[in-house]
Symmetry: C2
Subunit: 133 residues, 2 copies
DNA sequence: ATAATCCCCATCAGTTTAGTAGGATAATCC
DNA sequence: GGATTATCCTACTAAACTGATGGGGATTAT
């Protein structure tokens, strides 16, 4: 029940980029230093964010990354999903947890976790990078 | 952001035991069959639950497990914590996420995740095994 | 040219997870 | 008291995941 460092770093990087959006391209190294993220690890993450169309980039001197879409169009949920997969808090392992076992299934237990999942999902879906800058 | 199978199996087992609480001791094998859990794996889990005082047991013929306390005194949170550790949805990996980096920390981001953590925590804390039986 | 910077994949060590194995110990039944 | 049934408890393992690190190649600005 926690974020991976990939998701966390991605969010921090996006926040950082959103904040310096007016300054043009920001290099990976700048972000790495600002947010204390290992550079080579951050590169992977930024590249993934670019592939997923959240960033655009420019090579060479004065190159770097910048947001490819407005910060208020990037939901936290999307970012987390990109790195951590589904964010349902109970993507169940046992296939009988959600599915019906012949005789009985634990409907009420499932209901509790569905409620949590929905809350988490909605919260992260409606909160954008712009909201946290 | 999901439960481990250990937590899930533990909850299923507890629900099963709560349901058959009047029938005396229920063997691990019975639970394993009812909830489709690998027997030897379940044994470990039941043993852990016993060590943590949620169950009592009896060996030998007609032995098995039963609840050691009323089902309405066992919160889902306790069980999950026992197997998965802290259930905060953002027990942050990077030490600078919650802590202040000298210049800036992402207070708003932290606020969002604290909100989620609190909701999850409260929900699981107030829901008991009795509630889901 | 050359220096800066992104691009992209391969590898790795450590941890966690899910599950298996096997034998010791204790209670019950005959 | 011996057979049976069950829990108790430790050790092990294969696979996946996590958090990186490393090395080069491609591209662009000066």
């Amino acid at each position: 029940m926690k974020l991976t460092s990939r998701s966390e770093y991605a969010l921090l990087a996006l926040v950082c980029l959103a904040r310096h959006n007016a300054d043009g391209y920001v290099s990976a190294e700048t972000i790495a230093l600002a947010q204390k993220i290992p550079l080579k690890f951050l590169e992977q993450i930024l590249f993934a964010l670019k592939r997923a169309k959240y960033l655009r980039s420019s090579k060479g001197q004065h190159g770097g990354y910048r947001l490819a879409k407005p910060a208020d169009k990037i939901a936290l949920a999307e970012v987390i999903r990109l790195f951590d997969g589904a964010l349902a808090p109970t993507e169940s392992v046992s296939k009988y947890f959600y599915e019906s076992t012949p005789i009985e299934k634990e409907k009420n237990l499932v209901k509790v976790f569905k409620g949590i999942r929905d809350y988490v999902s909605e919260t992260l879906e409606k909160t954008t990078i712009a909201d946290v800058v």
